[in-house]
């Protein structure tokens, strides 16, 4: 008998449980997106079948357009129902190469923060200002839309923030 076939039968390479999906994420730095839109980046230390998560050394990444700022937050226990997705970034060796490239190219910047090539790291004040601008313009758009809808006879439901 083919020994490979025997191995495959005895040890199925993929076990279809939540634990099997998350276990290779443990002790890695992950990006967790929550239902309220927050993005947390931390080291996954524990989890269970509901995708309740424990994150250590967490930073909250505030993203507005292509600008972002990381705020240190500490340890999180996240209730699973609030999790949208858990993302693993490029493998460490790749990050290392990118980091080296960035150190060579721009010695003044913090290399870890440049792991996302499309985004620009800005100060807390700048990100708050950008956030404010974005929420203002969103509110204006919303008000305009609502007034147009009322004009043509629609009633406006209270705008739910949570889309889930």
């Amino acid at each position: 008998m083919n020994p490979l076939a025997l191995d495959a039968a005895a040890l199925p390479s993929i076990i279809f449980t939540t634990a099997a999906q998350l276990v290779d994420c443990v002790d890695r730095r992950l990006l967790v997106v929550l239902r309220d839109g927050r993005k947390l980046i931390g080291i996954l230390r524990s989890f269970d079948q509901y995708a309740n998560l424990v994150l250590q050394d967490t930073v909250e990444r505030i993203v507005v357009g292509s600008l972002y700022n990381d705020q240190p937050r500490g340890v999180y226990i996240i209730r699973g129902e609030n999790v949208v997705l858990v993302g693993q970034t490029v493998r460490l060796c790749l990050i290392f190469m990118i980091v080296i490239a960035i150190i060579v190219l721009t010695p003044m910047q913090d290399p870890e923060k440049e792991a996302t090539p499309l985004m620009k790291h800005v100060s807390l004040d700048e990100i708050f200002e950008a956030q404010q601008q974005e929420s203002d313009s969103r509110r204006q758009r919303e008000e305009l839309k609502n007034s147009k809808l009322i004009d043509i006879g629609f009633s406006i439901d209270s705008q739910a923030e949570d889309m889930y």
């Binding site: 939540t18 999906q21 999790v83 949208v84 693993q88």
Partner: protein
Amino acid sequence: MLFFSFYKTLIDEEVIVELKNDMSIRGTLKSVDQFLNIKLDDISVLDEIKYPHLSSVKNVFIRGSVVRYVHLPAAVVDTTLLEDASRKEAASQAAKAGGR
């Protein structure tokens, strides 16, 4: 459990998962579990301009409860088989309900 089994037949196929926050993620289906949580490899977000924070993410675990649609390649779905399996599942459910 029918859809759990069905998803298991789609492992290693390229799918697009649309989330309830309107974000769509294309990737290779790597794993699925009883809650239909989905693990995708080699992902790309369809509207990368709108969601730049995922540009460095290569594989994701998506919680089943936030999924709106999973777009599948038509070629990998055997609809007759799926219909058959649905009927069998319905029949066994009915038998169970009748037995009570």
